[in-house]
Symmetry: C2
Subunit: 340 residues, 2 copies
């Protein structure tokens, strides 16, 4: 038996069966059972040296690959059913690498009821993991295009933590931390702050329960998941909805851990919050009449949400500070320009 | 607007609309309309330097990424509906690279009625393209597991042509051709032979019409697409079906072009046919009573099919030659071992 077939055999032994999965990994394609109607589908890739550090733990990597793809479904108000996993890995990698990634991904998917249906292995110079998910909208899907002048802008979680976590992870590996350069060491942070920031980068939480609530109760007029930075993704939402978005700087939540990191690294916490990628939080707009419903988010959403700005007629995304407004749409990560 | 958003805008402008595609590229996820029942899903990745040569034409690459993924659906007797495309590319790549890949992939998909629903761009050291397809079985899906002792083994097309094409492409690029080493040049082949072999490697034809006919008329008891070599994939089918497969060497079709190449490169054409990857032909088993129906394949299948062996009780895959049988299951490409 070839090593690739042994991989599939070991994977199959460890995956639970499910009546929705008529034929799982190991044949030419997966066969699943679905209800008719509307499907929501998305794919996301993590690449070594770009989206995660070389030598990343494969369990963490598999888990994160699933989480970031699920974040897209969360932003649509959809719930996942199945996914496919494509893994590239170098010849030098231990044979267990793709198995560990796959099992961790399958476990993470199951937390949300999503099943690993199949996948593909490739030889590649750098490790990469692509997850392609499909699922169903819990109600009409929430797009980026429904925001209207007069709406209120909300954000889940605390942006910038993941960007700080990446800088810490890089410093821990002896790499240029990128943000804040050298001159500090992670040991200067409290262990609690370091743990929180590292976790924000390494182990994001897809906001599926929040997205489900927004769709089911038609609370959001538009939504986007913040993956490339709050500034860039706010600009995307503004463009798709043909509106102007104003983020009020004083309202943007900054975690205590982020503020400690910013002081240590000599960085502006607002810049970290606006430009930091990998947040995987939901940015969404709400009709003014519905805004009070967010004053006390129910615990099942699993995350705090906060009003951070407003929607106006016009175009573009702006940050409003005491001394005026400045455009922020060109901040953040771009896949043509690479990791900052 | 960020370059990534410009990419999406340019892509959207060039994609036709379709009523099944409720929301295409450009939002957090795609939204599509499906009938209930059974879905068949698969994913395949092409990696630069492994599955295609560095500097490959992006139009050819996008087209091929779609074809090889569709080959998996063909082997299941399924027909595609939608696909997602994940593209990794280096910062040095021209901005048009992912657009060219995407448009060529979308065009190739449309030839079979499949729509590009969405995707993802990633920065990566080497180019890679992952296509994740889903569609519907035209009847009960054909798996690898239904072959029975007494069945007859059939193959579409002429195996080994793609492996010869890869060697020619490598030689044309001044790379070690891999198969047959040095000592020959592509110019020693006739232009027609060279064209045929290069096309077999660069532009495989997914055998969707054949797979559809096999499923609809329940003609195949089992099927697999030959992607890693006839020997290795025959062994996979044998293992999944718990049978013994005997390939009769004299019956394996060898194109005239392959034979010319083999003479030139000093290689055994049978080895090329058994070990060559990237064929994307269908290997399938048929109950003996149905075998006569393949004596005159209808033109709509788009490919010749030929009886190449038989199914017996036992296990493993063997090549039968005048002097006896030898095991062939360990031949061929393995994604843990890399390109031979």
């Amino acid at each position: 038996m070839k090593p690739e077939d042994l991989f599939v055999e070991r994977l199959r032994e460890r995956l639970p069966t499910d009546e929705r999965l008529l034929l799982g990994p190991g044949d030419d394609a997966a066969v699943v059972s679905v209800e008719g109607g509307t499907l929501v589908a998305t794919t996301d890739t993590l690449v070594e040296g770009v989206d995660f550090l070389p030598g990343e733990n494969p369990d963490r990597l598999g888990r994160r690959a699933v989480s970031v793809a699920l974040s897209d479904l969360a932003a649509m108000g959809a719930w996942p059913d199945f996914f496919l996993l494509s893994i590239g890995f170098p010849q030098s990698a231990a044979e267990d690498l793709p198995l560990s990634i796959s099992l961790a991904a399958a476990k993470r998917g199951r937390e949300f009821g999503a099943l690993l249906a199949g996948g593909d292995l490739s030889r590649a110079a750098d490790v990469f993991v692509t997850a392609a998910f499909w699922g169903r909208p819990v109600a009409a899907p929430i797009t980026r295009a429904g925001a209207r002048a007069g709406d209120v802008l909300f954000l889940s979680g605390t942006p910038g933590d993941a960007a700080a976590g990446l800088a810490i992870a890089r410093a821990r590996e002896g790499l240029d931390p990128g943000r804040g350069g050298a001159g500090w060491t992670p040991e200067q942070l409290s262990p609690a702050d370091e743990t929180r920031l590292l976790a924000a980068f390494r182990d994001p939480e897809p906001r599926l329960p929040l997205g489900r609530a927004l769709a089911r109760e038609r609370l959001a007029t538009a939504a986007i998941d913040v993956s490339d930075g709050l500034g860039a993704d706010a600009a995307r939402l503004a463009r798709a909805s043909d509106v102007r978005i104003v983020i009020e700087s004083a309202e943007v939540p900054r975690s205590n851990a982020l503020q400690s990191f910013a002081v240590l690294a000599g960085l502006d916490p607002t810049s970290l919050a606006l430009e930091g990628g990998d947040d995987y939080e939901l940015l969404f707009t709400v009709a003014a009449a519905d805004a009070p419903r967010f004053s006390d988010p129910p615990p099942e959403w699993g995350v705090d949400v906060r009003r951070i700005g407003r929607v106006e007629a016009g175009e573009g995304a702006f940050l409003e500070e005491d001394d005026g407004q400045r455009p922020i749409g060109d901040l953040g990560f771009d896949h043509f320009e690479g990791r900052r």
